[in-house]
């Protein structure tokens, strides 16, 4: 295919046509000629021409009219008008109709060549630009589709992770509940046998004690499970975390006489948007966990601070207890994982604590070394609402001060 630009000359003056054709063919263009408007239109409709030179006065129509028609049928074709006189109105109208330029007779050959060259350059830029825009639009659409697909996949992944976590929870739950049930069912059978005997058998009282205790154990397990099902994202208020920690310490205080508690609270810690009951549960769990790790006494250090980026607060619970062996560290937040003696807790406390932190949009990490203690670091976001709350309360305070000091002058 010939890649040379195609130019059409529309002029009824044979001399002019031939002259122009020679010049342009020498420049390396492919040239076609037409001697009337109709012929010109026919040629344009048969084949795309990059540029047309239109004489203003044609036998069958005005050059301006032809210009209009060409622009309508082939908008990408550059058009230049050849006029015998530089009438301003004609020139302006030509430009308005979409002509690239007009050339005035007698022709200045160099100017003609330059104008044509510029017009063709501009045309190729316009076409290229359009092509690029379309290709950009296409790849944008493809990208949008990919993002949509990824979002669907991600949602599915999160769902399946939740299901798998749920599955683990249910499996652990089953085991935990099955043991008390085993004792209850077995004892009930033994009681029936004992009841048949003539004199009261000590086994009757023993059996009843066990049944009641195991039944209570199942009740406690179900209460724990409730903590998982409770939505911690309702009942939100602006909470002063330092105060909540104090309350948790008061709540568990009597259980931990052998432990020294050191508090390093940041003063004026911003309030966070939280469910206060959830935070109480969280802190109680961590305090109990520390207590269990320091059965022979020790120090629990609790510190709070606003993070440097001011978008979250960090709460650290650090104990000087027995620490956690490395192989257990990754399991610490799993439901029913416990290293305590059987019967002394079912290992849900830390997994509930983790769950509550996540529900609040935060993170909890653990660092521990055997015999060197454990540190739990919780970060909780200071949300926009609570930041606004802070700003409002500071503002209100400012107003009050102004009133009290008689206002500004």
């Amino acid at each position: 295919m010939d890649a040379r630009p195609k130019i059409l000359i529309v002029d009824d003056d044979e001399g002019m046509r031939d002259t122009l054709r020679d010049i342009l063919e020498e420049e390396g263009y492919m040239v076609a000629c037409a001697s009337s408007g109709k012929q010109g239109l026919r040629t344009i409709s048969e084949e795309f021409h990059n540029l047309t030179l239109i004489d203003i006065r044609l036998p069958d129509m005005s050059g301006l009219h032809l210009l209009e028609q060409v622009k309508r049928s082939s908008p990408d074709t550059a058009c230049m008008l050849i006029t015998g006189f530089a009438s301003i109105e004609t020139s302006v109208e030509a430009l308005n109709l979409g002509a690239e330029a007009y050339i005035v007779k007698p022709l200045n050959i160099e100017q003609v060549k330059m104008s044509i060259h510029r017009a063709l350059e501009r045309q190729s830029l316009v076409i290229e630009n359009r092509r690029l825009l379309e290709s950009l639009k296409e790849s944008n659409e493809k990208l949008k589709e990919e993002i949509r697909k990824k979002e669907v996949l991600q949602t599915k992944l999160i769902e399946s992770e939740k299901l798998s976590a749920l599955g683990k929870l249910v499996a652990g739950m089953r085991h935990e509940i099955n043991n008390p049930l085993c004792a209850i069912m077995g004892r009930t059978q033994l009681l029936r046998e004992a009841v048949e005997r003539p004199s009261p058998h000590p086994r009757i009282k023993d059996g009843l004690d066990v049944i009641e205790a195991e039944g209570r154990r199942i009740v406690r397990i179900l209460e724990y499970l409730d903590l998982f099902c409770t939505p911690w994202t309702v009942g939100l208020r602006a909470v002063d975390v330092n105060r909540t920690i104090e309350r948790a310490l008061a709540w568990t205080g009597n259980d931990t006489p052998h432990i020294e508690v050191v508090k390093e609270f940041e003063r004026a810690l911003p309030r966070i948007t939280a469910n206060e009951e959830g935070l109480m549960n969280l802190f109680n769990n961590l305090i109990n966990n520390a207590r269990d790790a320091m059965r022979n006494g020790g120090t629990l250090q609790i510190s709070t601070r606003l993070q440097p980026d001011e978008r979250s607060i960090a709460v650290v619970f650090r104990d000087t207890g027995e620490g956690i062996p490395r192989e257990n560290l990754e399991h610490v937040f799993e439901p029913f994982f416990t290293t305590r003696d059987p019967g002394k807790g079912i290992g849900l406390g830390l997994s509930i604590a983790y769950h509550i932190v996540k529900e609040h949009g935060g993170e909890m990490v653990i660092a521990s070394e055997e015999d060197n203690g454990t540190a739990f670091t919780i970060t909780l976001p200071v949300t926009r609402e609570s930041r606004t709350y802070e700003a409002q309360s500071i503002h209100k305070k400012g107003e009050t001060d102004e009133e009290n000091s008689g206002g500004r002058r």
Binding site: R174, H175, N178, N179, P180, L181, C182, A183, I184, M185, G186, R187, Q189, L190, R203, V210, A213, E214, T338, T339, P342, G343
Partner: protein
């Protein structure tokens, strides 16, 4: 007197088995974990081991494997919460003698033990 070792991490389950089986005339020793069970079997050579499948530290089948290394002929009963244990090829190939589903019916427990150890 025939000796039975009961391995289960739950105290009340151990006590239940103890009460039921000692009344039948067996000597019963309870242990709370897999490693303890292995030690007890090695040191006291019991006539039967009753093993819970889900214990902390070591899975019941692992304990069974270790016990079988030293003692091919010791009868072992596995206790499990799952009814369809015999569908699991790992269980079938482990050399288990019988299995009981929890919560255990004490009559089924007595009958199974009697079948294995005799009266």
């Amino acid at each position: 007197m025939k000796k039975i070792v009961v391995a289960d991490d739950d105290l009340n389950v151990r006590l239940l088995f103890n009460d039921v089986l000692s009344e039948e005339g067996y000597e019963v020793v309870g242990v709370a974990s897999g490693p303890e069970a292995i030690r007890e079997v090695e040191s006291s050579s019991p006539d039967l081991l009753i093993l819970d499948i889900k214990m902390p530290e070591m899975h019941g089948l692992q304990v069974l494997e270790k016990v079988r290394e030293k003692n091919e002929n010791l009868p072992v009963i596995i206790c499990t919460a799952y009814k369809h244990m015999d569908d699991d090829p790992a269980v079938r190939e482990s050399g288990v003698t019988a299995y009981l589903v929890k919560p255990v019916d004490i009559n089924v427990l007595k009958d199974t033990v009697k079948q294995i150890l005799g009266a």
